[in-house]
């Protein structure tokens, strides 16, 4: 069988029924990573030796009747901010190209326990974008490229996680989001990307950008695959105090009989690119087949300023050594060489004020979401921007209330494809739910993908 562009669930069935072996599968994806990874600037390190060892072990266990679950023998890629032994962990930053760790991140360990096969460390925006980059060329591996266009950015900061899934280089990938870093590459690369509830997944062994905003989550071809991966990586961890002691089991029951209650923030698509607005308007009509769609309003709060202040202040502290030492001059994006210095102008009282206001953001979001299954909105207000363009020159609204609220409040959200622009670039739809309702946003996205086919369309690669 050709394993490319098949879902994790399909591949898992093929592995279990011995239609394909984990070693064959791993070799097929290793070959694609070697051959096609450079085309999209998607890969930092192909972990061939580790992958083949894990694949042989999986093959032996499955042959002996010891099937660990749906990820057993499944190749995947990890954003290069997750520590993994035997390979550098560069955080996308040139000054850290040789950085290594002698332990695996908790997520890497959990995926290994589930039998998954690490085939690559994937490219990312340097330091997960924490230095304030303003254009796509902000990684020592070059600007991430979406497989949907030669001059289309893959999004960031989980750039390689998005493009590698979209190009069929891995069946799934792990990314991270502080503000937009899973949803943006999912949108620009036309794949599904899940930002779990804050605390759902341990960040132990992951680069810290903002301790109170960072989340890890999967990108894959389908929302169902994201659920399968979340099931394997979620759960408490004594090494990460933020990892919540809340059990999570993926609810894979058919969601198509369910009637959902969707909400749309008034004016949420205003200012978006025309192709995004059109796709979103069409999506709202389709969503009406799945349940109710009602307009909602949010209290007037400076959402972007709140989240931006928290992120910038925590990033300034997380990277204090790199900034103070001047090592940021070795980063790729010219603006990252100096912009972090401006953050010395942040005052402690303003950071505390943002944390006090955050409580109001959380209560306001919960007030709205307690009556709904999900808020829906465009995944991004625009399609993938050109590689050489500064973000401030792009056609997009100045504010991102869904991203600011969702990340400040630590809410789960998933982005799934919902259309294409005239130039063939994907557009995206996001479902954002109440805290800990990861299964609800997954169910909504799966119901969406049960009646649409955007997730089954793939770029011409070979």
């Amino acid at each position: 069988m050709n394993p490319v562009f098949r879902s994790v669930r399909e591949l898992s069935a093929a592995i279990r029924e011995c239609h394909v072996s984990p070693v064959e599968l791993t070799e097929a994806f290793l070959d694609r990573l070697d051959r096609l990874g450079p085309r999209y600037n998607a890969v930092v390190t192909v972990t061939r030796e580790r992958a083949l060892g894990q694949a042989r072990r999986a093959e032996g266990e499955i042959a002996a009747g010891r099937w660990r679950g749906p990820l057993h023998g499944m190749p995947y890629g990890a954003k290069d901010l997750l520590a993994a032994t035997g390979a550098p962990t560069t955080w996308g930053a040139a000054p850290l190209r040789g950085q290594t760790f002698d332990t695996d991140a908790t997520v890497i360990r959990r995926l290994e326990a589930a039998g998954a096969v690490l085939v690559a460390k994937l490219a990312m925006v340097e330091l997960a974008g924490g230095m304030g980059y303003r254009q796509p060329n902000a990684s020592f591996t070059g600007p991430g490229i979406s497989p949907w266009g030669d001059d289309a950015w893959s999004g960031g900061s989980s750039s390689g996680s998005g493009s590698a899934v979209a190009a069929g280089l891995v069946p799934f990938a792990i990314g991270s989001e502080t503000w937009g870093s899973i949803l943006s590459p999912a949108a620009y690369c036309g794949v599904s990307g899940l930002r779990p509830t804050y605390g759902r997944v341990s960040r132990h062994g992951a680069m810290a950008l903002s301790w109170t905003l960072d989340k890890l989550g999967p990108l894959a071809l389908t929302a169902d695959d994201c659920g399968l991966v979340l099931d394997a990586i979620a759960g408490p961890d004594p090494h990460d105090p933020s990892a919540a002691d809340r059990p999570f089991t993926y609810d894979a029951r058919d969601p198509t009989d369910r009637r959902f209650r969707f909400g749309v923030v008034r004016g949420i698509a205003d200012g978006a690119e025309p192709a995004v607005r059109e796709a979103f308007a069409a999506s709202l009509e389709t969503l009406a087949k799945l349940g109710t769609v009602d307009e909602v309003t949010l209290a007037d709060l400076p959402y972007d300023a709140i989240t931006r202040t928290i992120l910038s202040a925590e990033a300034a502290s997380a990277f204090e050594d790199l900034i103070e030492s001047g090592a940021i001059a070795g980063l790729t994006a010219p603006e990252d060489h100096h912009m972090p210095y401006a953050r010395d102008a942040m005052l402690a009282k303003d950071y505390i004020k943002a944390l006090r206001l955050r409580a109001h953001v959380m209560r306001e979001a919960d007030r709205v979401l307690s009556r709904l299954d999900a808020l829906v909105a465009p995944g991004r207000p625009a399609t993938a921007p050109p590689l050489a363009r500064e973000f401030r020159d792009l056609h997009r609204p100045a504010r991102d209330p869904m991203g600011a609220i969702g990340n400040a409040a630590g809410l789960p959200a998933i982005a799934v494809p919902n259309g294409f622009s005239e130039s063939g670039l994907p557009t995206s739809l996001q479902f954002m739910g109440r805290a800990w309702e990861d299964n609800t946003v997954l169910a909504a996205a799966r119901a969406w993908q049960a009646i649409t086919d955007f997730h089954r369309r793939h770029p011409a690669i070979d």
Binding site: A299, A305, I306, D344, R356, M362
Partner: protein
């Protein structure tokens, strides 16, 4: 729900804070970079003004849970 007021004028604050940043790092930055940092400081001050414009009550605590530590618990 918190109350909003108009953000106060902030350009003098931005100037003062920029001088602090320039004093710390000016010797490693070009004039173009310094100008970019100046704009960054202005954006931070503008952001802070948006936060300060929201009036909170004394009892509005930050979302930052402090838990006393014991190694044996």
């Amino acid at each position: 729900m918190p109350r909003m007021s108009e953000p106060a004028a902030t350009s003098r604050e931005a100037d003062v804070l920029f001088e602090l940043v320039r004093g710390r790092y000016g010797d490693r930055l070009t004039p173009e970079q310094l100008e970019s940092v100046r704009r960054g400081v202005a954006a931070i001050v503008e952001q802070a003004a948006a936060l300060r414009a929201v009036r909170l009550d004394n009892a509005d605590e930050p979302v930052q849970r402090f838990v006393p530590f014991r190694a044996d618990e």
